[in-house]
Each structure stands twice: as structure tokens, then as C-alpha cells.
């Protein structure tokens, strides 16, 4: 492979070498079905337990509270649809924010078709949900509050503890999508007071296609996948053994390296921002820089459209994401940036830069160089500009 400068760690992370090595045995010699009672089946089962212990340790849970899923998306679907299924006779009202991940929003849309009533809370310009809004939205028939821990586009960290406290007072279940938060901010499920929490391996240097749902001891929600008795009868389907082992290892590393990881990300991110500020005029930062994922930056470059930036960067081996309509098969501008009130024309020119463990200062220097040129080139082509007062 050519040299890449990967600045899209929030989309997915490379699998760390140690994680890969942890997976290899389960793709070669240790193939026993964890459901089988003979020895090679039981050692597969032990591997699952070890992975649970590691993930539980990272978030302050117990291994029995961790259930593996096929993705962060499945964890979100299960938490939301499973809660609805088990509580719909008690009430049908769910509270969420308007800038959740689509795994949450589309699960809720599905439930709306089944008869659920959903309140979508506004988000501040800084990218924060106001706990007061949550409180005011609660009704007699509210059965679930779901607010993400860290937003995937702008990285803002939500006041989970405050919200969960409100939920607890009213005896309403509280779910949080922690897919972007895991490994990047400190999580203690008991301190935070969450009942359900979604996680995904491929955001913490683990493999794709393996996620987990934390279900607090004592909380009972309907199963999502029905069939065999895997995962303590909680989630049917033969377990993704290699993926589970990899997720566990990734969690172990995340816990061990937490401080240096966060420090490194923040350093890279802040250095990048400083460099960009020095060289490129007319951009805005989307979302508050204060309560933010240490490796996330989301910038709106005025007068140009983001896909062009992405393509020019890709030509030079640099990967980033756009918040633009144009980059996707969908033509809708980012619902996240809309929710925090970024003007639509700026949404089109917004780029998410996300930094990770393998990002170097040289990467940043080179990326800013290329970015500077790309923005300059596109602005020259553009039909809008400061002078034209777009």
C-alpha cells in the first residue's frame, strides 16, 4: 500500500497488530463452537468470557452485563426496539436528541411506524443537549430516553450523568450510544448511571462487524435476535469468535493506554487546528471545542463544497470525511450540522478531521499543506466568495 495519511479515525480505525494477533487463533486452530460442551467448544467460550471481562473493565461494568452484537448499529437497534417491545404496554413515548446517529434515529423511525411517539430534542449551537429540555419532555407515557455520549460528526460530549439522573428520578430507562465515546473519554457506567449502552469495536482499533450492548444488571429488555441460547440467552446466533477476541484485546489496550492515547489525539488535533488557522482564511469550527472528543475536529470552509476537498485530499493519499450532501449517495446535508444550526451553505463545505494513535506531526504538516492548496484551488473555481457576499 502507498503511504496514507488517515484522518478519518471516527469513521473506522485500523486494526492494531496485537488485536489481529489475538484474533488469529480463532480463525485457525480454535474453531470450536462455544455452545458445544466438549473441550474445544469450552475454550471458545472462555475466550468470550475473557473478552467480556476486558470490555467490562474498560467501562466499569461486570462481564455478565456485556452482550456481544454484530455492530454498534445492532446494539442501538436492540436497546431501542427491545425496550419498546418490553414496555409498550406501559407507554409508547421515547425521548431522543435530533443529532443522534442514524442507527438510533432510524430505529426510532421504525418504531414510529409501529405506534411509538418520539420527541426529538433540539441541540445547542455548541452541540449540546440541555438536560432541562429532557426533563420538560418527559410525559406519563415516557419509557425510554436515548441520548448519545459523543456525537460522531462534531465530537461533542453530552451531559450524560445529568440526563441519566433525571431519567432515574422518573424511573425511565436510559440508553446512550457510546460508540464514539468508548476509549476516548472516561466511561463508568455506574457513575454515569446508564441502563443501556452501545459500543463498537471498529472505532477502537478492533475489527468491523462486532459491537456490544451493556445491559445493567436487573434491566430486562426483549431480545432482538431470536434463536439459540447464546449470550446467556440474550442474543441468538453463533458468536463471531475472532471478532469478540479482537474487541476484547482492543478494549484491554484502550484501557491500558487511555491517558497517552487521549493526550496524543488532543495534541495532534490542536496542532492541526493551529496550522490550519495560520494558513487558511475563512473557516469556522462546527461545535464547541470545549466538551469534545480529543481527536475530533469539524471545520466549515466557506465558499466551497466539501466533496471537492475530499477528492483532492484523496488524490494525495489523505482521508477525511465531509458533512456535505454531495459526498454521499444521499443528497441530504448532514442532520447533525443542521441540528446545531450551521447554515446550509456552510454545511456543504464542512469537513470532519479525526485523529488517532497512528497520526504523526508529519502527517498533520503534510495534510495541512495539501488542504491549503485544495481549498485555494476550489475557491478559485468557485462561483461564490466573500466579495460576492454569498
Amino acid at each position: 500500500m502507498e503511504r496514507n495519511i488517515y484522518l478519518d479515525y471516527s469513521a473506522t480505525t485500523p486494526v492494531k497488530r496485537e488485536v489481529f494477533e489475538e484474533m488469529v487463533p480463532y480463525l485457525t486452530d480454535y474453531y470450536g463452537n462455544p455452545s458445544s460442551i466438549y473441550k474445544i467448544g469450552q475454550s471458545s467460550k472462555e475466550a468470550i468470557l475473557l473478552a467480556k471481562e476486558r470490555i467490562a473493565s474498560l467501562v466499569g461494568a461486570t462481564p455478565e452485563e456485556i452482550y456481544f452484537t454484530g455492530s454498534g448499529t445492532e446494539a442501538d437497534n436492540w436497546a431501542i426496539i427491545g425496550t419498546y417491545d418490553s414496555l409498550k404496554t406501559k407507554g409508547n413515548h421515547i425521548i431522543t436528541s435530533s443529532f443522534e446517529h442514524h442507527a438510533v434515529l432510524h430505529s426510532l423511525k421504525y418504531l414510529e411506524e409501529q405506534g411509538a411517539e418520539v420527541t426529538y430534542l433540539p441541540v445547542s449551537k455548541d452541540g449540546l443537549v440541555n438536560p432541562e429540555d429532557v426533563k420538560n419532555a418527559i410525559k406519563d407515557n415516557t419509557i425510554l430516553i436515548t441520548v448519545m455520549m459523543v456525537n460522531n460528526e462534531i465530537g461533542t460530549i453530552q451531559p450524560i450523568k445529568e440526563i441519566s439522573k433525571i431519567a432515574k428520578e422518573k424511573k425511565i430507562l436510559f440508553h446512550t450510544d457510546a460508540v464514539q465515546a468508548l476509549g476516548n473519554i472516561k466511561i463508568d457506567v455506574n457513575d454515569l448511571g446508564v441502563d443501556l449502552m452501545s459500543m463498537s469495536a471498529h472505532k477502537i482499533y478492533g475489527p468491523k462487524g462486532i459491537g456490544a450492548l451493556y445491559i445493567k444488571k436487573g434491566v430486562k429488555i426483549e431480545n432482538f435476535l431470536h434463536g439459540g441460547g447464546q449470550e446467556n440467552t440474550g442474543r441468538a446466533g453463533t458468536e463471531n469468535l475472532a471478532g469478540i477476541a479482537g474487541f476484547g484485546k482492543a478494549a484491554l489496550i484502550a484501557e491500558k493506554n487511555f491517558d497517552s492515547h487521549v493526550l496524543h489525539l488532543r495534541e495532534m488535533r490542536d496542532y492541526f487546528l493551529k496550522k490550519v488557522s495560520e494558513r487558511i482564511p475563512d473557516f469556522n469550527i462546527n461545535g464547541s471545542m470545549e466538551k469534545r472528543h480529543p481527536g475530533n475536529l469539524n471545520l466549515a470552509f466557506n465558499y466551497i463544497e466539501g466533496e471537492g476537498i475530499l477528492l483532492l485530499l484523496d488524490k494525495e493519499g489523505i482521508q477525511v470525511s465531509t458533512g456535505s450532501a454531495c459526498n454521499s449517495q444521499s443528497l441530504t446535508p448532514s442532520h447533525v450540522l443542521s441540528a446545531i444550526g450551521v447554515p446550509v451553505e456552510r454545511i456543504h463545505g464542512s469537513i470532519r478531521f479525526s485523529f488517532g494513535d497512528f497520526t504523526t506531526k508529519e502527517d498533520v504538516d503534510q495534510a495541512v499543506e495539501v488542504l491549503d492548496k485544495a481549498v485555494g484551488k476550489l475557491r478559485k473555481i468557485s462561483s461564490v466568495s466573500k466579495e460576492k457576499g454569498w
Binding site: A11, E153, E305, C326, Q329, S330, L331, T332, R352
Partner: protein
């Protein structure tokens, strides 16, 4: 299988006829930054022939490539010939565009017509190809603004 073919990428990377003509005979704009694309075309006309054209585009890769290709296509053509160009022809000259990006070629097509419309107005001329033409018609607004939510493969993490 990159999202754009080589022709589109070449026109995006090295767009032809970028800029604004001084004292153009016709100027046309189409789209808006809010919708994600806006194109401006200026043309120079001598004896009913478009002798020069330049564009400026705010928009995605395919919008820029379509603009570049469109200006190339009209230079040297008569007004009537230029008016006959359809967005399908622009797409075909580009060797194809992803389905959801077809609207970018419509944009270029409209910008050209608007530039000719402006020229016709200034010269007080009428063209068959402009009969019933409304320069402000938002042919693709619906495509762009539809609040369909994330249904494409780029629902980014």
C-alpha cells in the same frame, strides 16, 4: 471502482475554462450554495458562434466536471447548436456519472441556457431553443432538498 470515472476526475482535477470573461456577451447562473451547487457561465458570441466561455462553480466534483465539460462542448458551436445540447449529452461526454449525481449535469445545462437567455435578452433576439424557457425554474431542487435522511452508503461513522 472509484466513485468517478477517469474523464470526470480529469475534468475535476484540471477543469477547462475556469474563470469569468470580461465584458461577456451573456452571463448565466444557476443553483444556489444552499442547495449545494451554484454555477456561473459567461460567454462571448461572434456571428452567432460561441467563441469563448468560462465558468465558475461552487459544488461537488461532478458539478465542477460537468461545468468544465459543458464549456468545452459549447465553445465553437452556434447558439442554436449550444441550445440543443442536453444534460444527457454532457453526462455521456463525461463517460457517465453516478446516478445520484446526474443533477450536476442538469445544473450545467441550465447555466448554459441562462447565459444564452441573457445574451438573447441583451441582443433582443429570439431562439427556438429558448421558447417557453424559464431561467429560474428549479428543475432539480426537489432532488437536492428532499429530507430523505441518510439512505446512501456514505452514512459516515
Amino acid at each position: 471502482m472509484p466513485i468517478y470515472n477517469d474523464i470526470v476526475m480529469e475534468h475535476f482535477m484540471n477543469p477547462r475554462n475556469v474563470g469569468e470573461l470580461e465584458n461577456p456577451d451573456g452571463i448565466g447562473t444557476y443553483g444556489s450554495p444552499v442547495c449545494g451547487d451554484m454555477m456561473q457561465i459567461t460567454i462571448k458570441v461572434v456571428d452567432e458562434v460561441i467563441v469563448d466561455a468560462k465558468f465558475k462553480t461552487f459544488g461537488c466534483g461532478s458539478a465542477i466536471a460537468s461545468s468544465s465539460m459543458a464549456t468545452e462542448m459549447i465553445i465553437g458551436k452556434t447558439i442554436d447548436e449550444a441550445l440543443a445540447i442536453t444534460n444527457k449529452e454532457i453526462v455521456s461526454e463525461l463517460g457517465g456519472l453516478p446516478a445520484v449525481k446526474i443533477h450536476c449535469s442538469v445544473l450545467a445545462d441550465h447555466a448554459i441556457k441562462n447565459a444564452i437567455f441573457d445574451y438573447a435578452n441583451k441582443q433582443v433576439k429570439t431562439y427556438k431553443g429558448l421558447e417557453g424557457y424559464d431561467p429560474d425554474e428549479d428543475a432539480d431542487e426537489q432532488d437536492i432538498m428532499e429530507e430523505t435522511g441518510c439512505t446512501g452508503p456514505s452514512c459516515r461513522g
